[in-house]
């Protein structure tokens, strides 16, 4: 299909106007694709996001698919995907029937791990979605205005950062009463101060730039300067940090549920599964180790992705790549 010529023309104009931008994005993409580790991270994150979004639906889907195979006589028996029902298959090792084995009540661990993964991911999203805006707003205010406001915000932030994250979250969650909601509130309270620090630091250094001074000199309002000239510049570190923090929050949440402060039984949660399995070590290793390993994979995925993004967003790294590209073609000629 041919595009009408005026659209083509517009497109060409747009292309030439944004040539350097397009080249830069291309380079970003190249920088990302080049690193096998980052791509692995992205794939892992995508898989886990699918699990997180679909959750029980995915479990139903898998069930339906295996049932289809069973009816086609590809497989000879149906696995059990019973996350909640007790059965006599107590503490069974992984098998076709129970992919990840079973727990002390004969519940299927594959199903429980899958549901637990969804819970872990969803509360990380909630915690970050609540914590980041608080941190960004306070950080921008503290960094931009400075003075007494900054002092006040920084002192309060320091108070919260004076505790190890897990300890403060534990005390809070325990006080609010064990449950998923308390755990989330506790983690939000623990997590926002880090963002205040990050954004405040970024804002302070951006404020030094001439363009901020120029905006102020022409009489632009503070709120507009913050929104138009400061906020866009803190975006990159924010995205990188948020990605890495997905891993951090998931591990923190797992720690809380390990102590018994997350979702309460019978709802499965990964950290809690690890704790419950402890007493059956070492013979029933799968009970603790598989959920623990899944947690590790989630954290690893987000950390690898965050790490890759850090490189991609680093202009120096891109320049280096660009050079490698060029010199790859022309070699170290010249000079001789």
């Amino acid at each position: 299909m041919r595009l009408p010529s005026f659209i083509g023309e517009r497109y060409q104009k747009w292309r030439t106007r944004n040539e350097s931008k397009i080249k830069e994005y291309g380079l970003m993409l190249y920088a990302f694709r080049r690193s096998a580790v980052s791509v692995a991270g992205l794939i892992m994150v995508v898989v886990f996001v699918i699990i997180g979004v679909l959750g029980p639906l995915l479990l139903d889907g898998i069930k339906a698919f295996v049932a289809f195979l069973y009816h086609q006589a590809v497989v000879s028996s149906m696995p059990s995907f019973n996350a909640f029902q007790y059965s006599y298959d107590v503490l069974q090792p992984p098998s076709w029937k129970h992919w990840f084995g079973t727990d002390e009540y004969g519940r299927d661990l594959f199903a429980r791990v899958l549901l637990g993964t969804q819970i872990s991911l969803s509360y990380s999203v909630v915690v970050l979605a609540a914590g980041i805006p608080i941190g960004v707003v306070l950080g921008l205010i503290a960094g931009y205005y400075g003075g007494a406001v900054d002092e006040l915000i920084s002192r309060v932030t320091d108070m919260f950062l004076a505790f190890p994250a897990l300890v403060l979250a534990m005390a809070l969650a325990a006080s609010l009463g064990a449950g998923l909601q308390s755990a989330m509130i506790a983690m939000i309270v623990v997590w926002w101060p880090g963002y205040v620090r990050l954004i405040r630091g970024q804002t302070l250094s951006i404020k030094e730039n001439q363009f901020v001074e120029a905006a102020r000199a022409v009489g632009m309002r503070d709120i507009k300067i913050i929104l138009k000239h400061v906020l866009p510049h803190v975006f990159t570190p924010l995205i990188i940090f948020a990605t890495l923090d997905m891993a951090g929050v998931i591990l923190l949440g797992a720690g809380l549920s390990f102590i018994g402060l997350g979702a309460q039984p019978p709802t499965p949660e990964l950290g809690r599964l690890v704790y419950d399995g402890l007493q059956y070590l070492p013979e029933k290793w799968w009970y603790s180790l598989i959920p623990g390993f899944i947690l590790f994979l989630i954290a690893l995925g987000f950390n690898l992705l965050g790490d890759g993004l850090r490189d991609v967003f680093d202009p120096k790294y891109r320049r280096k790549l660009e050079f490698k590209e060029k010199s790859g073609k022309s070699g170290k000629e010249g000079g001789e």
């Binding site: 320049r319 050079f323 060029k326 170290k332």
Partner: protein, 332 residues
């Protein structure tokens, strides 16, 4: 090659920088002789390769850069063929370097006296740091540091820019210094301090009979201090002459342009400064032939094809320009 008069001789030096954007041919066949006891000015705009040339003498080109070929004779020894251990004994001892940014050059964690003492100790000039300390105080007196004992115990952040430059100069004098390379020694300090620093360098040079290479883009400074001047453009030395001769009778079109672009108090108000048209070339893809030809108003067809070589057109006055090909009747 052994000539007592010539302390340093750079022969056919090529330096490349392998950067992300491409191979920068920063130094492109530099030849230079420095006489014992003289003060030579090395002049040129930022990025013309004057600092790189001088750093090559110490064999300290920062990483993406490499000396491709050439010879650097110091007291009759080719420095580029010395093993690293021998080279180390020359750095900071026989050849001392005064840096542009004394503030960045001092380690923030050590007292400045210690940092002055370090090269003496590791060059084996003194027995211990304790002995070195006495020498440090002496050196601080020589560089006219106020309250030398106290200042030696100070940390870099406790000193002003001018004082830090004195620390660096004291370090440069701590060895058995023969050749002193001062790389824009006054850019980082106030104008009043600049004069003091230059006076100090002059005084020390006479006292200790040092050879001084002054790298700068400040023509006034050169006129005041130097016996001879070499002018660099885009990785080449284009003209070399005794100071007075160069200022009176510049030959290379670039040098002419350079001098015409300097304001003079003696000239009337209505004299218009004449900038050199065009820009410094990109040294990744340098212009063929003479690197100045795209900006030269006297460019000839040959300038595009052939690189001009240095020729002595008058006694002691050398120039690399095709305009003077016939004058000296040089070798090729």
């Amino acid at each position: 090659m052994v000539n007592d008069d010539i302390i340093l001789k750079i022969e056919d030096l090529y330096v490349n920088f392998y950067t992300y954007a491409g191979v920068v041919k920063a130094i492109d066949g530099v030849n230079l002789e420095v006489r014992r006891g003289e003060c030579l000015g090395l002049v040129g705009e930022t990025g013309c390769g004057k600092s790189v040339t001088m750093r090559s003498v110490l064999r300290l080109i920062p990483p993406p850069g490499e000396i491709v070929r050439g010879k650097i004779w110091f007291n009759g020894v080719n420095l580029l063929e010395l093993p690293e251990s021998e080279m180390r004994k020359i750095r900071g001892n026989k050849i001392a370097y005064i840096v542009q940014e004394p503030s960045a050059a001092l380690d923030p964690l050590y007292r400045v006296g210690y940092q002055v003492a370090e090269p003496m100790v590791y060059h084996g000039l003194v027995g211990s740091f304790k002995d070195a300390w006495r020498r440090v105080v002496e050196l601080f007196k020589q560089v006219m540091m106020p309250e030398p004992e106290e200042r030696a115990r100070a940390y870099p952040h406790e000193l002003s820019g001018g004082m830090k430059q004195r620390v660096v100069i004291a370090t440069a004098l701590s060895g058995e210094t023969e050749l002193l390379i001062a790389d824009e020694p006054t850019t980082a300090v106030d104008v009043t301090i600049q004069a003091q620093i230059m006076d100090l360098l002059n005084k020390l040079r006479e006292e200790r009979n040092l050879t001084l290479i002054l790298v700068t883009h400040n023509l006034g400074l050169v006129a005041e201090m130097c016996d001879r001047v070499a002018v660099m453009y885009a990785g080449n030395i284009v003209e070399l002459a005794p100071t007075e001769e160069l200022f009176k009778n510049p030959l290379h079109p670039y040098v002419k342009g350079l001098l015409a672009a300097v304001p003079r108090i003696t000239a009337g108000k209505d004299v218009v400064l004449k900038p050199i048209p065009g820009f410094v070339p990109n040294l990744i893809y340098p212009p063929p032939g003479c690197r100045f030809h795209p900006r030269c108003d006297k460019a000839m067809p040959i300038c595009r094809r052939e690189k001009p070589v240095m020729k002595e057109v008058a006694p002691g006055h050398w120039v690399a320009c095709h305009l003077y090909d016939k004058v000296g009747g040089g070798d090729e």
